[in-house]
Symmetry: none
Subunit: 209 residues, 4 copies
DNA sequence: CATGAATGAGTGTTCATTCAT
DNA sequence: TATGAATGAACACTCATTCAT
């Protein structure tokens, strides 16, 4: 699906507003005003508000999928290093696209199987498959412990990052970073999360339970 | 604040619907219909939809706070055991009050400081203080590693549980539990999360980083 | 119609609130709160909000009627003096019962023939008859000019007083009396209106047009 | 502020209904039905019911202000003639825009300083200044009596006209004009009020008190 | 005799969407 | 292709009133 410039402007605005005020809390007029376009454009371009939401996800879907294809076959890295690279990729994705990931976390909670939840589901399944493959390889080679539930692992990685990024205020206040500019905070938290998650999983994966 | 039977019925219905469709996505009429009461009752009893939301939180606030007071002074348990007990308490709270915790996770994402976000914030601060105290004690006695960021730990515990419980569908499908009755699933996931998180933090806390 | 103490309390509160915020702008709850009684009491005692309004008018109806019966037969006073006494009575009534008269002026504007407009109409007719009788007598004795429209005269008397009393702010501000206590202002305006209206009608009534 | 045709239709309908049933007594739905438009149009065009009210006043504001600028400098007319012209202007305004002036009289009674009461206040102040200027000139040239309170004069002019026009039923019934068509009644009352008020003030202004 | 609880109808307003141009 | 105008449905909330006690 290709989007023209105006459509992209709408998508980006919607992504931001949806993440801040939620889908129901954001009116089409809000989006139109913020994007500097006519209200009717949303229906005109996307058909409906809901379809716009789907477009937002469609547009960012690639960024949800961790890229491991090349990595997996590269013998240059140890299995643990590859896990670390995956962690970094998750951290980077969340930090770089905070709006979208907040939105995704929110939508993920919706139970009824909408197109969006299906989309999220699908990507998670793919990511799960990639990581599982890697974990199994590590186990086979004796580097990783047995009995690792990769779904739980993924939950920890995304859950931890999401908690920190999306309710950032708590982290900032408890670390005296209330007024730290976004850019500097992002730099800091990227490093912090990366180090923490790696250390967390290093011992977990490599030690016998 | 004491609530009568009818008020509690409204609060429980609201808690459920808010958790499923979100605050903005749930209309007062939805709540009234589901609870079998007149629309006007919400305003009558709580003043407004927002006040009802606050009542939901007020009613469940205790369940957000982990109880560690007695535990901390009990010399019967090791520091690690105490951490394990905290993990179990978090797991139990989330599993027992899934609706409320989903709701809380949702609200936590709202940036603007409403009464509710403040309430959540406050409880998190108290929980943080309790856990920090315990961690520091463990470090002092040489059982725990240094350089532990308790805020990150909390994020991992709540984030992991939240991910699993709130987007349950993914876990169930990947574990062939699609149609498992709620009760049995809860029993299973309680054990699973408890074991996993304990094993995750055991190695992390006790090993040198 | 007799009213008990509680009913009178409601009537007086209603009179005040209706005069300030209008009939539609005043809720039964407002009246109940202000009067310190239960909301249901209004319906209980008066049947409905509208009936309460009627009770307010019923209760004050006597005060709308100018009393001229004795005066007319008293030969001690000149015809003009009697007119002056009528003017003073109007002024006194309006100043003493500002709330009620503001309310009456408001209701008078309603076109559809409610019980209240009928009541006002009736009193005005009686007052008109009394004054007409006096004017005719004055004309017969040669003291008053011919061609006097008594309805216009009444309109001038009540209209002038109403304008001054009911949009008091304008008079006060243009006469540097913004913060003058009500009691002092009433004393002042009573004298002022009395003198003015007498002087206005003296020349008008006695001179040939 | 310019209003398009549809906006004017709404304003005129609102003016009429507000004057008959009052602001609080008129629902936006009433206006929409009467004007043959959708309920949402009121908010769409004016923002709110209250803003619509303001628009009504804004639209008619000019008609509240008596125009005396040119007149005052014209030496062709005597001071009394000029007063007479002012009287005629007030009579004409009230007769021509009965709905609006009834509405204005109603609003004038509201105590709290809304935008509208402020607007009325302001116009009254301007009118007062114009008339005062004229009266003072007449006094200086010896034509008018001293000690004339112009505020009271204005109250008499507007109060008298308002009483007659706004509770028209009383005048019509006492003058056997119950079923006289509006147009003919207006013609009659215009003449009547004009003659009456002129005669009333002629003697009052020119005689020594 | 008095009232707290409850309700259906109605309030002003906002909404996503449609449509003529 | 793009939009201002318009709309019906839904929104949270308030209302006067009723009724069981």
């Amino acid at each position: 699906m290709e989007f023209n410039e105006k459509q992209l402007a709408i998508i980006h605005t919607a992504e931001k507003l949806f993440s801040v005020t939620g889908f129901d809390g954001t009116s089409v007029r809000d989006i139109a005003n913020e994007a500097g376009i006519n209200v009717a454009m949303v229906s005109y371009y996307f058909g409906s508000k809901e379809k716009l939401m789907e477009a937002v996800f469609e547009h960012r879907t690639n960024q949800m999928r961790i890229k491991v294809e090349n990595m997996l076959q590269n013998d240059q890295y140890s299995h643990l290093d590859k896990i670390f690279m995956i962690i970094d990729e998750y951290v980077d994705k969340f930090v770089d696209r905070q709006d979208f990931h907040k939105l995704m976390m929110r939508e993920q909670f919706n139970e009824k199987g909408t197109l969006i939840t299906d989309l999220i589901h699908e990507v998670k399944l793919k990511n799960l498959a990639s990581i599982t493959k890697l974990i199994r390889a590590g186990q086979k080679s004796g580097n990783f412990a047995k009995n690792i539930d990769v779904v739980l692992m993924m939950a920890t990685i995304t859950g931890t990052i999401s908690q920190i990024i999306n309710s950032q205020r708590f982290y900032r206040e408890t670390h005296s970073m209330t007024d730290l500019p976004a850019e500097e905070f992002n730099k800091h938290i990227r490093k912090k999360l990366s180090t923490y998650l790696k250390s967390l999983f290093k011992t977990f994966l490599t030690n016998e339970a």
